[in-house]
Amino acid sequence: MKSLLLPLTLLLSLSSIAQDKFFTRTGHIWFFSSTPVEDIEAHSRQVSSILDVTTGEIVYSLQMRSFEFEKALMEEHFNENYVESEKFPKATFKGEIKNFDEINLSENGTYQVVVAGDLTIHGVTNPVETEGTLKVNGEKIHGKSTFTLLVADYDIEIPKVVQDNIAKEIEINVDINYEPYNQ
């Protein structure tokens, strides 16, 4: 009996580890800068993120170089002059779902969540709080959120000549499809 129990408990504990964390490497984050002169939009589809459904902890990481712009020169200027990707290659977010007690992610459904944490871009960390949704569908969780941030908060300089082309407030969209994390 003992010899049977051991593999069984091992199996159970393993499967529970697998259900703890949800994960992606191909999350989609994009941003908009809208001014009367010009609309600028860039997409990254290489966002890594982990959502821990037992604690409500959530982390994001993305390479700034992975943002793709419509104009190649914009992409170069973004990396070279504005976010300085060589010095600060990554943007990260580390936070948690604040209303985690009120929701049960083991049941299918769409949940309104409030996520709060620290967002680091261009080497500058600021607290961020935003609303979003988590849609649980069996083994998959789909997370979505939109929020705005101020360029000035992240020490990103915009020279006077292009002041009318780049918005001071940037809209960030997050769209992540999580899958169970199996090691």
């Binding site: 490497r25 990481s61 190649a72 990396n79 002059n81 060589e86 292009v162």
Partner: protein, 269 residues
């Protein structure tokens, strides 16, 4: 967060912005126009600074080179241009064959191949002599090898071969070999200091008609959104390869210095 680091796939990071422009100063850099981007360039070289106040230190005289340069793909650009000096029409292509990268694939250098053809448009009046169109042509081939050491410093070597179909005397060499070296130092995020020098490998005796010297250019690149301004001081008057590598007559030490600038305006097609 540590777990994320572990799971992140190793990707290849291609080096961008080794130079701000497709030119180091006068000569080509390894950079090319990205796909579907059109670069309209206006380049000026004024007269010699040491020509004095009467010539307003060279600013009374001006040579202009206009060109349209287009990225067919991210690795192939073509261009056409026209110089007022010697009324030369030129065409070129630049092919990017290696890109410097780190990460999964490591490549220490970026390499571009450049070839150009140049047609001198001056009226010829040689008595009793058939002057063929082919006599007007010169050809240039370059291998541009660039390395971006870090955010601040990039260097480039440019082995160059020039063939001139027609030279004035038997003492002039049809073929010119040169080794170019160029570099940049980034001063601020929008301003770089550039320098470029071409060392001609032929003996001086092979430049009989035009007593050529080696071209040296020093200048700044200033970037403002869609424009790049390149301001420089140089001892060459011409802005095209056969001209500034093969026929530069100015000497820095004598004060034969020309002020010049390139303006580059990129359009998205």
């Amino acid at each position: 967060m540590d777990m994320l680091e572990e799971t992140e796939e190793q990707t290849t990071q291609y080096t961008i912005a080794t130079f701000k422009s497709t030119r180091v100063a006068t000569g080509h850099s390894i950079e090319r126009m990205p796909q579907r981007q059109l670069d309209f360039r206006v380049a000026h070289r004024f007269g010699r600074v040491n020509s004095g106040a009467y010539e307003f230190f060279g600013l009374d005289q001006s040579n202009i080179h206009l060109s349209l340069e287009y990225g067919i793909t991210d690795w192939l650009m073509v261009g056409i241009g026209r110089s007022s000096f010697q009324k030369v029409v030129d065409g070129f292509y630049k092919l990017s064959i290696l890109r410097q990268s780190t990460g999964k694939k490591v490549m220490p250098v970026s390499v571009s191949l450049f070839s150009g053809i140049y047609a001198n448009g001056l009226k010829q009046s040689v008595p009793n002599y058939d002057y063929y169109f082919s006599n007007r042509l010169s050809f240039v081939h370059q291998v541009l090898i660039g390395h971006k050491f870090n955010e601040l410093i990039s260097l480039q070597l440019s082995p160059t071969y020039i063939h001139r179909n027609f030279v004035e005397t038997p003492f002039d060499s049809n073929d010119i070999y040169a080794l170019g070296i160029g570099g940049r130092v980034k001063l601020t995020s929008r301003v770089t200091l550039n320098a470029e020098y071409y060392y001609r490998l032929n003996p001086q005796s092979e430049f009989a008609t035009v007593q050529a010297s080696n071209p040296l250019s020093i200048g700044f690149d200033i970037e403002t959104g869609g424009h790049v301004f390149q301001l420089h001081f140089t001892n060459s008057r011409s802005m095209i390869e056969p001209g500034f590598i093969g026929e530069t007559t100015g000497e820095w030490l004598k004060g034969d210095i020309h002020f010049g600038f390139n303006i580059s305006r990129v359009f998205n097609l």
